[in-house]
Protein backbone atom coordinates (compact mmCIF):
# COMPACT_ATOMS: atom_id res chain seq x y z
CA UNK A 1 0.00 0.00 0.00
CA UNK A 2 1.42 3.46 -0.88
CA UNK A 3 2.69 5.51 2.04
CA UNK A 4 0.21 8.34 1.41
CA UNK A 5 -2.65 5.85 1.76
CA UNK A 6 -1.26 4.60 5.08
CA UNK A 7 -0.98 8.24 6.19
CA UNK A 8 -4.63 8.73 5.26
CA UNK A 9 -5.60 5.69 7.35
CA UNK A 10 -3.56 7.09 10.23
CA UNK A 11 -5.45 10.41 10.00
CA UNK A 12 -8.82 8.65 9.81
CA UNK A 13 -7.91 6.48 12.78
CA UNK A 14 -7.08 9.56 14.86
CA UNK A 15 -10.25 11.31 13.71
CA UNK A 16 -12.43 8.38 14.76
CA UNK A 17 -10.64 8.37 18.11
CA UNK A 18 -11.57 12.01 18.64
CA UNK A 19 -15.19 11.41 17.63
CA UNK A 20 -15.35 8.64 20.26
CA UNK A 21 -13.62 10.95 22.75
CA UNK A 22 -16.14 13.76 22.24
CA UNK A 23 -19.01 11.29 22.77
CA UNK A 24 -17.24 9.89 25.86
CA UNK A 25 -17.00 13.40 27.32
CA UNK A 26 -20.69 13.85 26.55
CA UNK A 27 -21.42 10.65 28.46
CA UNK A 28 -19.77 12.13 31.55
CA UNK A 29 -22.50 14.81 31.60
CA UNK A 30 -25.52 13.26 29.91
CA UNK A 31 -28.21 11.93 32.20
CA UNK A 32 -31.10 11.26 29.81
CA UNK A 33 -31.08 7.51 28.99
CA UNK A 34 -31.86 8.04 25.29
CA UNK A 35 -29.11 10.62 24.93
CA UNK A 36 -26.68 8.31 26.73
CA UNK A 37 -27.67 5.44 24.43
CA UNK A 38 -26.99 7.55 21.33
CA UNK A 39 -23.62 8.69 22.70
CA UNK A 40 -22.71 5.09 23.54
CA UNK A 41 -23.61 4.14 19.96
CA UNK A 42 -21.29 6.86 18.62
CA UNK A 43 -18.44 5.56 20.81
CA UNK A 44 -19.05 1.97 19.70
CA UNK A 45 -19.31 2.83 15.99
CA UNK A 46 -16.21 5.02 16.07
CA UNK A 47 -14.30 2.21 17.79
CA UNK A 48 -15.58 -0.30 15.23
CA UNK A 49 -14.38 2.03 12.46
CA UNK A 50 -10.99 2.35 14.13
CA UNK A 51 -10.75 -1.43 14.32
CA UNK A 52 -11.44 -1.78 10.59
CA UNK A 53 -8.76 0.81 9.80
CA UNK A 54 -6.18 -0.81 12.08
CA UNK A 55 -6.81 -4.25 10.57
CA UNK A 56 -6.52 -2.77 7.08
CA UNK A 57 -3.29 -0.94 7.95
CA UNK A 58 -1.92 -4.02 9.71
CA UNK A 59 -2.35 -6.21 6.64
CA UNK A 60 -0.87 -3.45 4.47
CA UNK A 61 2.20 -3.29 6.74
CA UNK A 62 2.61 -7.07 6.57
CA UNK A 63 2.35 -6.91 2.77
CA UNK A 64 5.10 -4.24 2.68
CA UNK A 65 7.41 -6.22 5.01
Amino acid sequence: MPLDRLMLLHELNNLLGKIAGAAELGLLRAEHPEVRAELETIVRLAEDGGGIIRRHAGSAREARA
Partner: protein, 135 residues
Amino acid sequence: MPGKTVLLIDDDVELLRQMTAALERAGFVVTPATDGESGLKRLKAGPPDLVITDLLMPVREGIETIIDLRRRHPEIPILAISGGLRLGPGDFLNLARLLGADATLAKPFRLQQLVDAARHLLEQRSAPAAAAGRA
Protein backbone atom coordinates in the same frame (compact mmCIF):
# COMPACT_ATOMS: atom_id res chain seq x y z
CA MET B 1 -6.12 11.87 42.53
CA PRO B 2 -7.32 15.32 43.59
CA GLY B 3 -4.78 18.07 43.08
CA LYS B 4 -2.12 15.97 41.34
CA THR B 5 -0.49 18.01 38.58
CA VAL B 6 -0.09 16.78 35.02
CA LEU B 7 1.91 18.30 32.19
CA LEU B 8 0.04 17.13 29.08
CA ILE B 9 1.76 17.53 25.69
CA ASP B 10 0.06 16.85 22.34
CA ASP B 11 0.01 18.81 19.09
CA ASP B 12 -3.54 17.67 18.28
CA VAL B 13 -5.54 20.55 19.76
CA GLU B 14 -8.87 18.72 19.86
CA LEU B 15 -7.40 15.63 21.50
CA LEU B 16 -5.52 17.87 23.93
CA ARG B 17 -8.84 19.53 24.85
CA GLN B 18 -10.54 16.16 25.37
CA MET B 19 -7.73 14.70 27.46
CA THR B 20 -7.54 17.88 29.55
CA ALA B 21 -11.28 17.78 30.21
CA ALA B 22 -11.25 14.08 31.18
CA LEU B 23 -8.23 14.45 33.49
CA GLU B 24 -9.61 17.61 35.11
CA ARG B 25 -12.93 15.90 35.71
CA ALA B 26 -10.98 13.13 37.46
CA GLY B 27 -9.43 15.75 39.77
CA PHE B 28 -6.06 16.35 38.13
CA VAL B 29 -4.69 19.86 37.65
CA VAL B 30 -3.62 19.92 34.01
CA THR B 31 -1.12 22.13 32.21
CA PRO B 32 -1.61 21.58 28.47
CA ALA B 33 1.10 22.22 25.87
CA THR B 34 1.06 21.72 22.11
CA ASP B 35 4.72 20.72 21.62
CA GLY B 36 7.69 19.43 23.58
CA GLU B 37 9.47 22.76 23.58
CA SER B 38 6.66 24.69 25.23
CA GLY B 39 5.99 21.71 27.50
CA LEU B 40 9.54 21.73 28.82
CA LYS B 41 9.35 25.53 29.31
CA ARG B 42 6.36 25.01 31.59
CA LEU B 43 8.53 22.86 33.85
CA LYS B 44 10.21 26.04 35.05
CA ALA B 45 7.05 26.89 36.97
CA GLY B 46 7.63 23.71 38.99
CA PRO B 47 7.84 20.00 38.18
CA PRO B 48 4.48 18.26 37.77
CA ASP B 49 3.55 14.96 39.41
CA LEU B 50 3.18 13.33 36.00
CA VAL B 51 4.01 14.04 32.35
CA ILE B 52 1.88 12.68 29.53
CA THR B 53 3.38 13.25 26.10
CA ASP B 54 2.59 12.43 22.50
CA LEU B 55 5.54 11.17 20.46
CA LEU B 56 5.10 12.57 16.95
CA MET B 57 5.02 16.36 17.21
CA PRO B 58 6.54 19.40 15.55
CA VAL B 59 9.15 21.70 17.15
CA ARG B 60 10.39 19.14 19.68
CA GLU B 61 9.01 15.66 19.30
CA GLY B 62 8.14 13.37 22.16
CA ILE B 63 11.15 11.06 22.14
CA GLU B 64 13.49 14.05 22.46
CA THR B 65 11.23 15.49 25.15
CA ILE B 66 11.37 12.22 27.11
CA ILE B 67 15.18 12.08 26.93
CA ASP B 68 15.44 15.69 28.10
CA LEU B 69 12.89 15.19 30.84
CA ARG B 70 14.57 12.02 32.12
CA ARG B 71 17.89 13.87 32.36
CA ARG B 72 16.42 16.83 34.23
CA HIS B 73 13.72 15.15 36.32
CA PRO B 74 14.32 11.40 36.70
CA GLU B 75 11.72 11.29 39.47
CA ILE B 76 8.72 12.34 37.35
CA PRO B 77 6.74 9.44 35.86
CA ILE B 78 6.14 9.67 32.12
CA LEU B 79 3.25 8.26 30.14
CA ALA B 80 3.93 8.18 26.37
CA ILE B 81 1.00 8.19 23.94
CA SER B 82 1.12 7.67 20.19
CA GLY B 83 -0.86 6.71 17.14
CA GLY B 84 1.78 6.14 14.51
CA LEU B 85 -0.37 3.71 12.50
CA ARG B 86 2.03 4.29 9.60
CA LEU B 87 4.77 2.21 11.20
CA GLY B 88 2.80 0.54 13.95
CA PRO B 89 2.31 2.36 17.27
CA GLY B 90 4.36 -0.32 19.03
CA ASP B 91 7.52 0.85 17.25
CA PHE B 92 7.44 4.36 18.72
CA LEU B 93 6.02 3.31 22.06
CA ASN B 94 8.68 0.63 22.54
CA LEU B 95 11.35 3.21 21.79
CA ALA B 96 9.76 5.59 24.30
CA ARG B 97 9.89 2.82 26.93
CA LEU B 98 13.54 2.15 26.19
CA LEU B 99 14.35 5.83 26.58
CA GLY B 100 12.62 6.31 29.90
CA ALA B 101 8.83 6.38 29.62
CA ASP B 102 7.27 4.48 32.52
CA ALA B 103 4.14 3.48 30.63
CA THR B 104 2.65 3.76 27.14
CA LEU B 105 -0.80 4.00 25.62
CA ALA B 106 -1.56 3.49 21.92
CA LYS B 107 -3.97 5.93 20.23
CA PRO B 108 -6.84 5.87 19.85
CA PHE B 109 -7.76 5.09 23.44
CA ARG B 110 -10.81 5.65 25.63
CA LEU B 111 -10.38 8.77 27.77
CA GLN B 112 -11.12 6.61 30.80
CA GLN B 113 -8.11 4.46 29.87
CA LEU B 114 -5.95 7.59 29.98
CA VAL B 115 -7.30 8.56 33.40
CA ASP B 116 -6.78 5.00 34.70
CA ALA B 117 -3.22 4.89 33.35
CA ALA B 118 -2.42 8.26 34.98
CA ARG B 119 -3.83 7.10 38.33
CA HIS B 120 -1.99 3.79 38.12
CA LEU B 121 1.36 5.46 37.43
CA LEU B 122 0.98 7.87 40.33
CA GLU B 123 -0.11 5.08 42.67
CA GLN B 124 2.93 3.04 41.63
CA ARG B 125 5.20 6.00 42.35
CA SER B 126 3.64 6.77 45.72
CA ALA B 127 3.51 3.13 46.92
CA PRO B 128 7.28 2.68 47.50
CA ALA B 129 7.49 6.07 49.23
CA ALA B 130 4.62 5.15 51.53
CA ALA B 131 6.22 1.77 52.28
CA ALA B 132 9.54 3.48 53.10
CA GLY B 133 7.70 5.88 55.38
CA ARG B 134 6.16 2.95 57.28
CA ALA B 135 9.49 1.09 57.63
